[in-house]
Symmetry: C2
Subunit: 206 residues, 2 copies
């Protein structure tokens, strides 16, 4: 029985540790693949084209939007982010699971197109902790940090539109929770239509 892959969407305020959790998940699960977003924002130190993002020009982004090549896209702080459609649909059809690390605007667009996706919102233990983490990263100006924290309050209200909330107080524990969510989702009745027929038919073919 060929099973369709599962689309997993991870969101959460900037600085919550989504990226680290994603990396852990991908290391532990060879059936899980990462959907690389396209963006018009410049790379941060250490970010590599084709690994962290597809860094593209605004004109290229616009063209992808016009040709329907993006599953979702959004503008965040003046930059554009989007999910290329082709890779995601190909992976899902071949039974591979896909993880998308996207913002809440994008997640809600994906939810309309993939209602069977698994939507997970990652939260920091507290806003104070979040501020400390963003400061520690040292890649953003004080003005940007302030804007991010204010946005975090607003974004947190979107959490209730997701299926799961995972508090990231410890990377290992938070990753284990998401691993359990993926394992559990594979057992959901809606993803196993036909399983009962298989159970019964094995007898009748005897």
């Amino acid at each position: 029985m060929m099973r369709q892959g599962i689309l997993i969407v991870l969101s959460g305020p900037s600085g919550t540790g989504k990226g680290t959790i994603c990396k852990e998940l991908l290391q532990n699960d060879s059936n899980l693949h990462y959907s690389i977003s396209a963006t018009t924002r410049p790379p941060r130190t250490g970010e590599v084209n084709g690994i962290n993002y597809w860094f593209i020009l605004p004109e290229e982004f616009k063209e992808m939007v016009e040709h329907g090549e993006l599953l979702e896209w959004a503008e965040v702080y003046g930059n554009y982010y989007g999910t290329p459609r082709r890779y995601v649909t190909e992976m899902l059809h071949s039974g591979k699971d896909i993880v998308l690390e996207i913002d809440t605007q994008g997640a809600l667009q994906i939810k309309e197109k993939f209602p069977d996706g698994v939507f997970i919102y990652i939260v920091p233990p507290s806003i104070r902790e979040l501020a400390a983490r963003i400061n520690k990263r040292g890649t953003d100006s004080p003005e940007v940090i302030n804007r991010r924290l204010n946005a975090a309050y607003e974004e947190l209200a979107c959490a209730y539109q997701y299926d799961y909330i995972v508090v990231n107080d410890q990377i290992v524990a938070a990753t284990a929770k998401i691993t359990a969510i993926i394992k559990a989702e594979k057992c959901r009745v809606k993803r196993n239509a036909g399983l009962i027929d298989v159970v019964c038919n094995r007898e009748s073919t005897d």
Copy 2:
């Protein structure tokens, strides 16, 4: 933040290995407690009153039904089975998780009263495998075995009314899936109302 316990309902055709899985789950998770059913059927070899079931007389069962002391009850093969209400509600209120091992009739009654319960249907890899397991147990007459297998076909159709389906081909793997389901369910948004307030308030109390 005090969290209500989770009610977990396990069902599946007779001989599927529900009992063994239940035992494993309880051994691995100290927050999980077993709801002992009351029944009017005689004990099988090795079954102990107050551990496997509360073995009671038909008059006592009738009295419990009349006094509303059962969350669900059903007649199966001429015997009565029911879930005493008090233990379950007390455990859930004190944040303990409860596992009920009951038949599909009972499970659907529980679903009406506890829509937030987690309903898991355990299936054998095949009906043929199920027949082999029941035969091996050697506690039932050939007539009873036949009746059970015919019932299994009908019962399997009820699986689609559950939340999850777990194939029990290996006890350890099936138990791990149910452990993952319980872990995942604790992260569900509907069980974490108020979590976001906690995340934000920790900052404001500073």
